[in-house]
């Protein structure tokens, strides 16, 4: 079975959904190939710009930092249940296009899942700035990706990122996380682990029929 997962690195529900899906996968007895695919929630966010997440949210929704802190409290609590200690206080909002290009480069070396995990952790837990070239290269090197520097400083893999986003739209995705099982079933959002487990079983039964 193949599961494709469209996700954006700045998406807090994507990381929660990832953990819940992994919980379901741990109890699933069939081999599953995972392919991470790119999605951008805010492609218009200026590339190179980096501002505190709280400021970005305050600008988008209005209100002050305290209101934004209250808004993010629920997702922070739910993330904690999944073992994810989100740090919106020090989070930095960036355009994720370059990070997605890097993820495609990692995928070409068989390290796509590891790169997505590292990038999401850096963004949502560690407050790292993913528009920074040195940061992206360091994160890639940490998981064994080679040749990250020339990728980050060029436009390599641009077509791959664009193609992923286009595919998501064609498949009907309007948001992320978006899970597609064997190009037959779609599961949208940070569903409970038992829902992912049921979807995996259904896809397996369909493929065996």
């Amino acid at each position: 079975m193949k599961v494709e997962i469209w996700s954006d690195i700045v998406c807090p529900w994507c990381y929660i959904g990832k953990r819940r899906f992994e919980t379901a996968l741990a109890d699933f007895d069939h081999p599953v190939e995972i392919e991470w695919r790119s999605f951008q929630l805010d492609p218009e966010f200026p590339r190179g710009k980096a501002i505190p997440v709280y400021d970005a949210l305050a600008e988008k929704f209005g209100g002050g930092r305290e209101q934004v802190r209250e808004m993010t409290g629920r997702v922070k609590d739910l993330a904690a249940i999944e073992g994810l200690d989100y740090d919106f206080e020090h989070g930095v909002m960036v355009n994720t296009f370059d990070a997605h290009r890097l993820a495609h480069h990692a995928k070409s070396q068989g390290l796509g899942p590891e790169m997505h995990e590292r990038l999401m952790r850096a963004q949502l837990i560690e407050g790292q700035t993913l528009s920074d070239v040195d940061t992206l290269v360091r994160l890639a090197e940490e998981i064994g990706v080679e040749g990250a520097g020339p990728v980050v400083t060029s436009d390599q893999y641009t077509a791959d990122v664009d193609a992923d986003i286009q595919q998501a739209r064609l498949l009907g995705a309007t948001g992320v996380p978006f899970f597609v099982l064997d190009r037959k079933y779609g599961v949208s959002g940070a569903q409970p682990a038992e829902v992912f487990a049921q979807a995996l079983r259904q896809a397996a039964e369909n493929s065996a029929a």
């Binding site: 498949l171 037959k184 940070a190």
Partner: protein
């Protein structure tokens, strides 16, 4: 309950939607599984 997105068919109500004619023929129509009201991030913002 939120309606199935374009190109999707909700697994429970079997309400099949044909994809727009301009879409490539190899794009499948997916059957949606799961709850429709779980949080997602879309269009530049997340349900916080």
């Amino acid at each position: 309950m939120r309606a199935a997105a374009p190109g999707l068919v909700h697994g429970m109500d079997e309400d099949v939607q044909a994809p727009p004619t301009e879409e490539p023929r190899d794009v499948p129509v997916l059957v949606t599984l799961g709850n429709a009201d779980v949080p997602v991030c879309e269009d530049g913002s997340c349900a916080l």
